[in-house]
């Protein structure tokens, strides 16, 4: 094992985690309201607005049709505007967030749509406002499903950062490309893959544990 392997991996992992955490936070900030809006503006829901619903749905679909790498390139000027550079992990967070927000919005939308309409009506019947129903009924009632959906999105973002890494974002993806591929460092390539696999497994495990705990609390006996 080469001496530089460990420092390379820790730096790469650090950058990847940095990008994943910031991008997840930012895409949740964008995706949660968007996902809620996609549900509540549907005809017959809390705040029906068919035209707005169509516009939002189209916007989400268009963003999701872009291949990852194209989206990153297209959004580079925005990165420069927001964080002052087009290189490095921080610059990558901008396209990563914008690229994953629509995906997250769709996942949140489908979780929120699983809720029985009767529960929403029970909320309406006691005079709750739409915002109270979103906060106190829809989100808590679908929390386990939301957790699994967000877990899925985080794993997608991890894959997304690897692609971004290939074009200058840093992180494990960049390590695999620059060392593993371009310099024929098989050890770096393999080690990077192992770390990525462990990372994905770990995230999924944590997500499953949280979702199970939410469900267990609701069904515990005694």
């Amino acid at each position: 094992m080469a001496d530089d392997l460990l420092p390379l991996l820790t730096t790469g992992l650090g950058e990847t985690l940095y990008m994943v955490i910031l991008s997840t936070a930012a895409s949740l900030l964008l995706g949660l309201p968007l996902g809620v809006a996609l549900v509540v503006t549907e005809p017959g829901h809390l705040l029906p607005a068919p035209r707005l619903n169509k516009v939002l749905g189209t916007l989400v679909n268009v963003t999701r049709s872009f291949p990852t790498i194209i989206l990153i390139v297209v959004l580079l000027p925005l990165s420069r505007l927001l964080v002052g550079t087009t290189l490095g992990a921080t610059a990558a967070v901008v396209p990563l967030s914008i690229g994953s927000a629509p995906f997250l919005a769709r996942i949140i939308e489908s979780s929120l749509k699983e809720i029985d309409r009767g529960k929403i009506e029970a909320g309406l019947a006691v005079g709750a406002t739409p915002l109270q129903i979103v906060r106190k009924v829809m989100i808590p009632e679908s929390l386990a499903s939301l957790t699994l959906g967000i877990t899925m999105a985080i794993i997608m973002i991890i894959g997304f950062t690897a692609t971004a890494g290939a074009i200058g974002a840093g992180g494990l993806g960049s390590l695999a490309v620059r060392f593993g591929y371009q310099r024929y460092r098989t050890d770096v390539m393999l080690a990077t893959l192992v770390v990525l696999v462990l990372l994905v497994q770990g995230v999924q495990w944590v997500g499953n544990v949280i979702a199970r705990r939410i469900n267990r609390n609701r069904h515990k006996f005694g």
């Binding site: 029985d116 529960k119 009506e121 029970a122 019947a125 006691v126 005079g127 709750a128 106190k136 515990k220």
Partner: protein, 260 residues
């Protein structure tokens, strides 16, 4: 207490326009338990859901406790709904909340303080006989207990009216009887006006002094139970109210007729 006049509701379906409610006029007195009985698809659920505007009527007026429900803006409607409790066939409890949390929900919505909520929830759970179940989750309760939570939630804000949308239709007969007893109990204790819809004659017989029969979106007959039973004017009323020709017998007769 409740005045319904000229109420109409239509639905647009793929196969055309369905007239779900046709010129409904009804008057319900303060403190009574009023039953609306009809077969499924007769429009009774649409009718009761119009009373708190979970369904928007096309035309007509609804007045509850002097307030014209049909003219309220969204904020006014929310205020009015706080005084109109509702219970549902499938209970519609929040699974993420305990029994306490479910009953606390309307109080949180109305902006009560935490100690106030705790006091009120304990009081109502006692009233519905679930004083010891405050920390259980709905998934741990039987059907009858779930409906008791539903009733407690509906009563939390001290409503003037309770709407019961087939509240006992998914319960077994003995549980149904205990829920009906509870409804009569709270009607007496709290002087609460109750409007219930059902397809079960037993429910009406058990609770109501007055009732209306609904068929194909129209009220075909309404009045005191005794009158409906002794002098039914319409065939469907006879079907529901005359014990000598019950729903079941009528069914048998048609069956015999087709066989014979």
């Amino acid at each position: 207490m409740i005045e319904i006049a000229g109420l109409n509701k239509t639905y647009q379906t793929p196969s055309g326009r369905v007239h779900a409610l046709k010129n409904i006029d009804l008057s319900i007195k303060r403190g009574e338990i009023f039953g609306i009985i009809g077969f499924s698809g007769a429009g009774k659920s649409t009718l009761i859901r119009c009373l708190n505007r979970l369904e928007e009527p096309d035309s007509g007026t609804i007045r509850i406790a002097g307030r014209e429900i049909t003219r309220l803006d969204p904020a006014g409607l929310r205020e009015a709904r706080k005084k109109i409790g509702m219970i549902f066939q499938h209970f519609n409890l929040f699974e993420s909340r305990t029994v306490f949390g479910n009953v606390a929900f309307p109080l949180e919505v109305a902006g009560h303080s935490k100690p106030e909520i705790a006091r009120r929830v304990a009081e109502i759970l006692e009233l519905v006989g679930l004083g010891d179940k405050a920390h259980a989750y709905p998934a741990q309760l039987s059907g009858g207990q779930k409906q008791r939570v539903g009733i407690a939630r509906a009563l939390a804000n001290d409503p003037e009216v309770l709407l019961s949308d087939e509240a006992t239709s998914s319960l077994d007969p003995s549980t149904t009887a205990s829920i009906l007893d509870l409804l009569r109990d709270i009607n007496r204790k709290l002087r609460l006006t109750i409007v219930l819809i059902t397809h079960e004659m037993e429910v009406v017989r058990h609770l109501c002094a007055r009732a209306a029969v609904i068929e194909a979106g129209a009220i075909v007959e309404a009045g005191p139970l005794l009158e409906l039973a002794s002098r039914p004017q319409k065939e469907i009323t006879r079907l529901f109210f005359n014990p000598r020709r019950s729903e079941c017998q009528a069914g048998l007769e048609t069956e015999e007729a087709t066989i014979g």
